[in-house]
Point group: C2
Chain length 338, copies 2
Amino acid sequence: MATEFGLAEIEAASRRIAGRVIRTPVLSSPMLDELAKCRVFVKAESLQRTGSFKFRGALNKILAMDPEVRRRGIITYSAGNHGHAVAAAAREVGCPAVIVLPVTAPTIKVDNCRWWGAETVFYDPTSQDREEVARAIAEPRGLELVPPFDDFEVMAGQGTAGLEFAEELVRLDACPDALLVCCSGGGLASGAATAMKARFPDLACHVVEPAGLDKMARSLACGFPQPKPSSPTTIMDGIAGPIAGARPLAVLRGLGATGLTVTDAEAQEAMAVAFRFLKLVLEPGGAAALAAAITKGSSLAGKTVAVIGTGGNVDEDVFADAVAGDARSSARSSGDGS
Amino acid sequence: MATEFGLAEIEAASRRIAGRVIRTPVLSSPMLDELAKCRVFVKAESLQRTGSFKFRGALNKILAMDPEVRRRGIITYSAGNHGHAVAAAAREVGCPAVIVLPVTAPTIKVDNCRWWGAETVFYDPTSQDREEVARAIAEPRGLELVPPFDDFEVMAGQGTAGLEFAEELVRLDACPDALLVCCSGGGLASGAATAMKARFPDLACHVVEPAGLDKMARSLACGFPQPKPSSPTTIMDGIAGPIAGARPLAVLRGLGATGLTVTDAEAQEAMAVAFRFLKLVLEPGGAAALAAAITKGSSLAGKTVAVIGTGGNVDEDVFADAVAGDARSSARSSGDGS
């Protein structure tokens, strides 16, 4: 198990998962640049296997395990992109997987995990702690936990997206001034920022979070992992996890990262922009960094901005609302225009 | 100007446009494979600059021109993906461009052409022939026509999508049994089939057209370019052009290509599948080949199928209808389930 974290660990992860992940494209659009008032490059991780960057970290974690450990199997707790990615990565590698899900998980998410052959176990989120439930199942069977973000192997796997992004920007002869990355626990943000900053030392790294739920920005300010406040709610469910990760926080602090926030309406606007100019499906949380590039562009005027579009797992009606702009204009007319 | 057409011309085009086009990803999904009952790889040309493969052909045509000709400028007639691509390619190269548009063209399409700095000229489709209008403008100014498909340089440019597709399939250790490509005039179909068949000699090449509007299939059957019948109508506007191209027809005949058709409802289903499993925005005509893979999959059971997703320029409401499945289920309930 990795006990250090840096470019070498990300490069090792890249070799380990090579050929099993999609080298997602870096997209741009002069029309988008005009709108954002800066030069925007988008790494389209929504096109990654299982529809988000999460597959990279899950696969790297599983492949880095001792073969005997892997043979016994893995376990995780997540109803979202991480759970889906772990189930698919386990299938890819051929090891047993258990996904611990809340009884409230939507049927489609449960079905996704089962489709890949994973065993699903349910807990009651009102009375049970998901980590305790997972531990109780894992211990007698010797299952290894695949944590969603607070783990060097997972961070290194997610960091391979940043490594590819940096390589492609070099090929395009573009030198980014800023990296904008959607952030919840910080696994991707810490990994991608490490890889990108190694190639572009002057890069400013910004984590992008839902307005009012900027737990990583608050953690960066005080130095300790902060939990998510109980309110407000957000449609950016993919980046509304319970707490910032300790290891990602330490890495992001070391890189001098700072936070930006976006509103639900701004995320929806970014989904519509990605649909119109890039032909990409982004989920609300996966569009947060693009939303920040669009709304904060004036402070980055003339700069080159690297954005990671992190995921595309979104329900039809939520996507249709966003691209049609109905929900957005109603949010605006209710005063949400900050 | 090229007077022959084959792999060498496509490879030359690939070198000419290198670094100026996006190397679009090849995507796949085990869930899609299960649905289609065959192994499907999708080359996502909707992610190409201007949202369709058309940028490749336009750029190659312009770059292959004599510099003196290019300096005078170019002209084309198209309100759709070709016009948009020509305007953007002219801007990329820095030459003047005139786009001849019907007075009935939607404002957004006119604005797109103007955004890239192209001059727009209008004609009345009820009383004027667009080619004659274009000629009358082009001759005194010495403008060079960029034809939409019936041109070896345009075909070679479009063929670079097939060249990249073949290279990526080799890298993935996949040997396709069939190529399915959306087809109207046949520029992409002829170019991509030439490139793919050079690498995979046993490949079966299928052009995919709207049901009842299969002008290329009819042209292949009789050996002469057939016009589009005046009915039925289709939502697949991108592949409902007026006539099959003579040069593409000759090439496709030489490759032994055959035709497949899909209904509007099947194209909408494929748009929903691309949204759900691949996170791709496809326009109706751009989803036709994927629709054929899904509906004709049983005759390709266990086979490996290469599909080109050709474009993603679709209005919000058309896309929302398709992914929500409303229009589709009403089409089905009205008996359209063939």
